[in-house]
C-alpha cells in the first residue's frame, strides 16, 4: 500500500488522502453518461470497454428504450461529446483483471488488447449494462418472425433510404403483429417499444398493425400520449392476462389467436380472433451480461437472485455497491428505462464527488477495530465482512500477523464484531478509533 492508505487527523473527522482518478467499467449509454457527468465535475476518467467500440454492443439494446428522440441519434450525440472530451480516456478491447485496495486507493490491473497495464483509481463506476437474447419459436415461416430490434433497424434503414432520395419505402408487410408478454423483467420497455414501432409502421403503411400485450407501459414522459396516438392511428391492441396468444402456421403463413375482450359473441362470451400475420414481432429477453459473475468476483461485489449486481441498499444507496468506492450505474443492477439511467449516472457522479472530491475522504465515525494481541488470524472476519474492509497484515506491536480493518472501507455494520470467535474486534467511535468508547459486546454464536 502506498502513501494514500495512511490516516491523518485534521479538523473534526479523521481524513485519508484519496486518488481523484475514476475508472468507468463499460461503455454504452450508462458508462458514457457517467464519464461525461464526472468530467463535468472536473474528474479524469478512464473508460474500459471490452468491445472495440466505445458505445459497446448497444445497437440491439438501444432499440428497446422507447424515446422521443431516435436512440441512434441520441447515442451519436453523446458519443461525439465524449470523444471530444479531454478528460475521458477510452481503453477499448479492455477488461479488468483484478482490483486491489479500497475506496480512494484502488489498484487495478487492466488487460488492454492483450497488454497488461496497472492503474490507480480513487473510485470505480460499473456500467456493464445488459445483454439481450431471444429464442424464436419454431415455425414453418422463420423469415416472418423478427425481434423488436431487428424490426427497428429495418425501419431505420427504410427511413434512411427514403431520406436520401430513394423511392418511397414499400418494404413493410401488410399485417404486422407484436406479442409482448410480461417476462419477469423489472422494466416494461418492451411494450413501449412495441407501441412506438407500431405507430412508426402505421405512419408508413396502410396495413394492419396488432399489438397483443399484458400491460401497456405508459409510466414515463409522453408515453400515455404515444399510446393514445397508437389507438388513433388505428393500431389494434389486445390485452391478455393468463390466456396467452397462440402462434400457429397455416398454409400461407403465420397466424396468432388471441381473445378479444371487447367483442362479445352472442353466447355472451368474448370471442377468439385469428390474426393472419405477414410479420410477427417478438421482444428479446433482457438479462445481465454473461460475464457478470467473473466481474463480480474481480470486484468482490454481490449478485442478486436474478444475477444482476446487488446494490447496497435499494433506497438509501441505490448506486452504491457493498464496497465503498465501487458504484453501479444503470442496467448492471436492474433493467431500467432510459431517463432513469441518465439520472442515475449523474447521481453516481455526485456520490463519487462527495467521496473523493476534496482529495481526501472523511473516515466513518463508527468503525470496527481489531485488537491484534487477541487475533488468532482465523479469517472469520475477512470472510464475513460484507464490505471487503478486512485485510491481514503484519502487526508491529505483536510481531505477528493479525487482521486489520481498512478504515475507509468500513461501514460500521458490526458483523465482524459479532462473528469474531476471539472477541478481538470492537466498535470504536469518535475521532480516534484507537480510543474506543463503545466496547463491542460479541453476539452469541449463531445469532
Amino acid at each position: 500500500m502506498n502513501e494514500t492508505g495512511k490516516t491523518r487527523a485534521s479538523g473534526n473527522a479523521q481524513k485519508v488522502p484519496v486518488n481523484k482518478q475514476v475508472l468507468v467499467v463499460g461503455g454504452g449509454l450508462s458508462g458514457i453518461e457517467a464519464a461525461l457527468s464526472l468530467s463535468a465535475l472536473g474528474y479524469e476518467t478512464t473508460l474500459v470497454e471490452q468491445s472495440d467500440s466505445p458505445t459497446g454492443d448497444t445497437a440491439g439494446i438501444l432499440a428497446l428504450y422507447g424515446l422521443a428522440e431516435e436512440p441512434a441519434q441520441l447515442m451519436e450525440r453523446r458519443m461525439a461529446e465524449a470523444r471530444e472530451n479531454p478528460r475521458i480516456h477510452f481503453l477499448l478491447q479492455a477488461s479488468i483483471v483484478y482490483v486491489k485496495g479500497s475506496a480512494g486507493d484502488f489498484q487495478v490491473r487492466i488487460d488492454h488488447a492483450g497488454t497488461v497495464c496497472d492503474r490507480d483509481f480513487g473510485a470505480i463506476a460499473v456500467a456493464t449494462g445488459v445483454e439481450v437474447d431471444i429464442e424464436l419459436p419454431d415455425t414453418d415461416f422463420p423469415q416472418k418472425v423478427v425481434t423488436c430490434s431487428e424490426l427497428e433497424s429495418r425501419l431505420a434503414n427504410l427511413r434512411y433510404r427514403y431520406r436520401t432520395g430513394g423511392r418511397k419505402p414499400s418494404g413493410i408487410p401488410e399485417n404486422v403483429c407484436f406479442i409482448v408478454e410480461d417476462s419477469g423483467e423489472d422494466s416494461a420497455i418492451h411494450s413501449t417499444s412495441a407501441i412506438r414501432n407500431a405507430v412508426a409502421i402505421k405512419k408508413r403503411s396502410r396495413g394492419n398493425v396488432f399489438v397483443c400485450c399484458q400491460n401497456v407501459n405508459v409510466s414515463g414522459e409522453g408515453l400515455e400520449r404515444l399510446y393514445s396516438e397508437a389507438r388513433s392511428q388505428g393500431v389494434v391492441i389486445f390485452k391478455f392476462d393468463d390466456e396467452k396468444p397462440q402462434i400457429s402456421s397455416t398454409d400461407t403463413g403465420l397466424s396468432v389467436t388471441v381473445r378479444d375482450r371487447s367483442a362479445v359473441a352472442q353466447s355472451g362470451q368474448t370471442a377468439l380472433v385469428e390474426i393472419e400475420c405477414d410479420l410477427l414481432v417478438l421482444p428479446e429477453r433482457i438479462r445481465p451480461p454473461s460475464n457478470t459473475a467473473s466481474l463480480q468476483s474481480v470486484l468482490q461485489v454481490r449478485l442478486d437472485p436474478s444475477n444482476y449486481l446487488q446494490e447496497n441498499n435499494v433506497w438509501l444507496k441505490p448506486t452504491a455497491s457493498n464496497r465503498k468506492g465501487i458504484f453501479f450505474v444503470g442496467e448492471c443492477r436492474a433493467s431500467f428505462n432510459l431517463g432513469d439511467i441518465l439520472t442515475e449516472a449523474r447521481s453516481t457522479a455526485l456520490a463519487v464527488h462527495n467521496l473523493i472530491g476534496r482529495g481526501e475522504a472523511s473516515l466513518p465515525a463508527a468503525r470496527a477495530v481489531v485488537d491484534a494481541s487477541r487475533c488468532a488470524v482465523c479469517l472469520t472476519c475477512l470472510r464475513s465482512c460484507p464490505h471487503g474492509a478486512v485485510e491481514v497484515v503484519f502487526d508491529d506491536m505483536t510481531r505477528g500477523k493479525a487482521a486489520r480493518i481498512i478504515d475507509i472501507a468500513c461501514d460500521g455494520c458490526g458483523v465482524c464484531v459479532a462473528e469474531c470467535p476471539a472477541r478481538a474486534i470492537h466498535m470504536a467511535a469518535g475521532r480516534n478509533a484507537e480510543e474506543a468508547v463503545v466496547d463491542g459486546q460479541p453476539a452469541q454464536a449463531g445469532v
Partner: protein
C-alpha cells in the same frame, strides 16, 4: 473566497435531498418551505412493510428530514415563499417573504423542488368522494394507517371487502391529465398487501387498466398480489352508498359484456399526481416554462434537471410524477448539475 450559495425552493424529499447533497459538497444552502414544516407529502406516508419490507420508501423520507434538521450548515426557512427572482450578471437576487416580512438573498443557483399536489378526487364526482364516508383516497388511507396502524370503516367496523380504483385523475384526457402518474399501481398494491396482512380474510379487488411494472423486484411482488387479490380490468363508472352502510360499485364487465354491480365495504381511490397549485405563478416569477401537463419543463429530454434558464434546475416531482426513489435520484442529479454549473462561474 466565499462559497457559492444555492437556493432550494421546497422542503419535501427532493428539496431535502438536493440540499443535503449540496451541503456535503461544501456549498452554502438555503431551503425555503411554504408550509409550517419540512417533509412535504412524503412525511405523511405510512410504512407498508408486511413480514418483509416492500420498499415503499416512507422511512427514507423520515431519515432525510432528520438529516436536514441535524445539519446546522443549511439555513431552513419555513412559512417562507419565493416571490421574485432577478438576475444580475452572475448572481440571482431572490425576494423571500415570510409573514409579510420581505428579505433579499443573493444566490448563484436555484433548485426548484416544489413537488406535486394529489389529484382532488372531488373532480370525479362519479366516485362519491366526500359524499360517501367509506370512499377514501390513497393518501387518506396512508394517513389513517400511519395514525392508527390499521384501517376501519366509518362505523368503526373492520372492512371485509375493499376495492381499489386505479388511475383516478391519471390517464384521463377528459380532465386534461393525459399522463400516467406512475406511482399509484405501486402504492395501491403495497397498501392492499399491508391491509391483507393486518386483516387476514380481507378480499381485495383492484380495478385497473394496465399495471405499471417498474423498479427492482416489483414484477415479482405484483405476481404475488395476483394470487391474493382479484384484478379486474375496468374502471368503474359509479360508486354510491346503498343505504345499508356499504358501497355499490358499477363497472363494465368486459368478459361478460354487460354492466356489473358489486358491493364493497370500502373503496380506495388511487389518486394521481398533478402540478402543485401555484406552479404557473412560480414559473413566471422564475422566468421558466411549464410543460403541456403543467409541470415545470425540462425542454431537452436528456437533461431532466435543466430548465430553460441557466442556473435554475429542477428536482423531484415538480418536473413530473415520481416516486420517492425517483425523486431522490432526480434530486441528486439536480445537485450534480448545480455543482457542475457553479464550477463554470
Amino acid at each position: 473566497m466565499r462559497q457559492p450559495a444555492v437556493l432550494v425552493v421546497g422542503g419535501g424529499v427532493a428539496g431535502i435531498t438536493s440540499a443535503l447533497s449540496l451541503a456535503e459538497s461544501g456549498l452554502r444552502v438555503h431551503v425555503v418551505e411554504r408550509d409550517e414544516d419540512i417533509g412535504g407529502h412524503g412525511a405523511k406516508l405510512c410504512c407498508k412493510a408486511t413480514e418483509v419490507c416492500h420498499q415503499c420508501g416512507a422511512c427514507i423520507v423520515a431519515d432525510k428530514i432528520e438529516g436536514l434538521r441535524s445539519n446546522t450548515g443549511i439555513s431552513v426557512m419555513t412559512r417562507t415563499e419565493l416571490r421574485r427572482l432577478e438576475r444580475n450578471d452572475r448572481e440571482f437576487q431572490a425576494h423571500l417573504v415570510r409573514r409579510d416580512n420581505g428579505e433579499d438573498v443573493s444566490l448563484n443557483a436555484v433548485i426548484v423542488a416544489t413537488g406535486f399536489a394529489p389529484f382532488d378526487a372531488r373532480h370525479k364526482p362519479q366516485f362519491g368522494y366526500k359524499e360517501c364516508a367509506d370512499v377514501l383516497t390513497g393518501l387518506d388511507l396512508e394517513e389513517q394507517i400511519r395514525a392508527t396502524g390499521s384501517v376501519q370503516r366509518s362505523d368503526g367496523r373492520r372492512p371485509r371487502t375493499i376495492a381499489f380504483i386505479q388511475c383516478v385523475g391519471s390517464r384521463d384526457a377528459h380532465i386534461g391529465n393525459n399522463y400516467c402518474s406512475g406511482v399509484c399501481c405501486k402504492y395501491a398494491l403495497r397498501m392492499a398487501s399491508l391491509l391483507q396482512s393486518r386483516i387476514p380474510d380481507l378480499e381485495v379487488t383492484v380495478f385497473y387498466m394496465d399495471i405499471q411494472i417498474g423498479g427492482k423486484g416489483f414484477y415479482e411482488f405484483y405476481q404475488g398480489c395476483r394470487k391474493r387479490m382479484r384484478f379486474t380490468r375496468a374502471i368503474p363508472t359509479k360508486v354510491a352508498g346503498n343505504g345499508s352502510g356499504t358501497l355499490e360499485v358499477r363497472y363494465e364487465d368486459v368478459e361478460r359484456g354487460h354492466l356489473a354491480e358489486e358491493t364493497f365495504d370500502m373503496v380506495v381511490l388511487s389518486v394521481g399526481m398533478v402540478p402543485a397549485p401555484d406552479t404557473t405563478d412560480l414559473a413566471q416569477a422564475l422566468g421558466v416554462s411549464v410543460n403541456r401537463d403543467g409541470f415545470f419543463s425540462a425542454p431537452d429530454p436528456l437533461e431532466a434537471n435543466q430548465t430553460d434558464v441557466e442556473g435554475i434546475f429542477l428536482a423531484g416531482s415538480c418536473h413530473g410524477p415520481k416516486d420517492i426513489e425517483g425523486s431522490i435520484a432526480h434530486a441528486q442529479a439536480a445537485a450534480m448539475r448545480t455543482i457542475s454549473f457553479l464550477g463554470t462561474l
